[in-house]
């Protein structure tokens, strides 16, 4: 099903030309930049906090506090400042929707 769907889409876009819209996977892609430390989909294997399943607003609040410098950190202030507030909100939303366990 899924496969047939993918091919239908290939053909459709092949005919119509590739649309230049925002990528529907933008949040997923942005959150994947955090996985090196916090684990795939935010599920840490140890030594770093897991982020998967944490409520969006609480995550976002923490990230904005890192960004402003209000929350002390060894590294997260420097990382959070590399993303726009909108990007951080997308990341927080994506991580909140992940399963806590693999």
């Amino acid at each position: 099903m899924k496969l047939a769907h993918a091919f239908a889409l290939t053909c459709l876009l092949g005919a119509a030309g590739v649309a230049a819209a925002a990528d529907p996977n933008l949040a997923r892609n942005l959150a994947a930049t955090c996985a090196n430390c916090h684990g795939t989909d935010g599920r840490s294997v140890g030594g770093m906090d897991s982020l998967a399943g944490e409520p969006r607003d609480r995550l976002l609040q923490k990230l904005l506090a890192f960004k402003s410098g209000e929350r002390p950190a060894t590294i997260m202030h420097q990382i959070a400042r590399g993303y726009s507030d909108e990007q951080l909100a997308l990341i927080a939303g994506h991580l909140a929707a992940q399963r806590v366990r693999d």
Binding site: A19, N29, I79, R81
Partner: protein
């Protein structure tokens, strides 16, 4: 999925009957074989790409990984093996998880040739493989004959810049060195793999010597004019070792005499007890001999939206092999991030969708200044459409304020998590 479906419906409505006619003609496409991506190289870039292609395509794309080694051995943390603070087993991870958990087909073999027109990869023992898209993550190879006298002498003059037997060999030479000996370490001109790595190595070797052979010396012969990464922090760490570390900038190596472990510099000749030469390097040979666009004959030039070699559709190149974007280091961390940009782009392209127009990557390099205390450098890179490459974000990133035990622990936690992000 809901977004994608409504996107298709909306599009279908908008383009009407002619396009749907095209769709009907395409229906036979259903019987086409599944898309096949071949990944060459199972390091930080390639292994991550293999996993994320399977994960993000929800198993609809077939992935074959060709890797010559039976297990992954991490360069990051390998300096702790050199110092005797970790075993090689601690930095080795099996490739089995990619197969059992993610359904990646593993081939333990050497990729020997790529035909970018026929879309095939040749291997030493497993014949020729066809691909729809290729991911090339070949790491670095040393430039042949760049340092006269070095060729064929890596047993006498180890590089230990690819973790594994070379790491153990250099460890053995360090252990065998008498108290009062000289451990000379040569750093090539940038760019090279892992900018802070050589300075970390000097520190970790010094920490071992301070404890076990305190009359010895670490002589750092740097072809560059200054420390290439975390300069202030490493300069402070070097100072902390008193006279044990001697840092000499602008010391480009002219040649070596392997038998006597002698390094020939422009104005000096140094006879060492252990001679560790990190040779000048370039993109892995499979990349340099396959007709891909190279900068200075050394590094592959890529389109940063898809990670495809410029002008070569369907060949995505990752990691240390690339001509770097501004302020982007050759690190395992950044290779993992390249892989995710490539995986996302490949899944989109195979579905006939445009790649993400705004990819973001970030880097962190943790280093040890002794067996326990760590420091970091970090940066975030956002794609700049006008410059057509990722640019470091002003005001973001930076380095540690000082070395600390907590960052030593984070360095080890980073390693565990990135290894799992690639392989588990």
């Amino acid at each position: 999925m809901a977004t994608r479906r409504s996107f298709v419906k909306g599009l279908a409505g908008a383009i009407g009957a002619t396009a749907l006619g095209g769709l009907a003609a395409c229906a036979s496409g259903k019987s086409r074989a599944r898309a096949h991506v071949v990944v060459v190289g199972g390091g930080f870039g390639g292994a991550t790409a293999a996993k994320y292609l399977r994960m993000w395509s929800q198993g609809t794309v077939d992935v074959t990984l060709i890797e010559r080694n039976a297990a992954f051995v991490s360069c990051p943390i390998s300096n702790l093996v050199l110092g005797g603070y970790r075993e090689l087993a601690d930095i080795s991870v099996s490739y089995a998880g990619l197969q059992s958990k993610w359904g990646v087909r593993l081939i333990t073999d050497e990729a020997t040739a790529i035909d970018i027109d026929k879309r095939t990869v040749g291997t030493a023992m497993n014949g020729v493989l066809r691909y729809d898209r290729l991911v090339l993550s070949p790491g670095v190879d040393f430039i042949p004959n760049a340092v006269p006298g070095l060729e064929g002498n890596f047993e006498h003059v180890p590089h230990a810049w690819k973790a594994g037997p070379q790491t153990l060999l250099l460890r053995q030479q360090l252990q065998d060195m008498a108290d009062g000996g000289v451990f000379a370490l040569h750093i090539p001109k940038a760019p090279y793999r892992c900018p802070p790595g050589p300075y970390e190595r000097a520190c970790v070797v010094a920490s071992y010597l301070r404890r076990h052979k305190p009359r010895s010396k670490v002589l750092v012969l740097d072809a560059n004019g200054e420390i290439q990464s975390k300069k202030v922090l490493f300069a402070k760490a070097f100072e902390g070792y008193g006279g044990l570390i001697d840092y000499v900038p602008n010391s480009e190596l002219r040649s070596v005499d392997a038998a006597t472990r002698t390094a020939e510099l422009e104005f000096d000749r140094i006879r060492a007890d252990v001679l560790n030469v990190i040779p000048p390097m370039r993109a892995g040979t499979i990349a340099t001999r396959s007709g891909l666009p190279l900068v200075n004959g050394r590094w592959v030039d890529v389109d940063w939206l898809t990670m495809e070699a410029r002008g070569v559709a369907g060949v995505h190149v990752l990691g240390d092999a690339l001509q770097p974007a501004p302020a982007m280091p050759k690190s395992g961390h950044i290779a993992n991030q390249h892989a995710k940009v490539a995986a996302a782009a490949i899944v989109n392209l195979l579905a006939g969708e445009a790649p993400n127009p705004a990819p973001v990557v970030m880097n962190t390099c943790y280093s040890f200044v002794d067996e326990r205390n760590g420091i970091h450098i970090a940066s975030v890179h956002q794609y700049d459409a006008a410059k057509r490459q990722p640019m470091p974000v002003d005001g973001a990133g930076g380095v540690s304020t000082a070395a600390s035990e907590i960052e030593g622990q984070y360095a080890l936690a980073w390693a565990k998590n990135i290894w799992a992000d690639m392989l588990a």
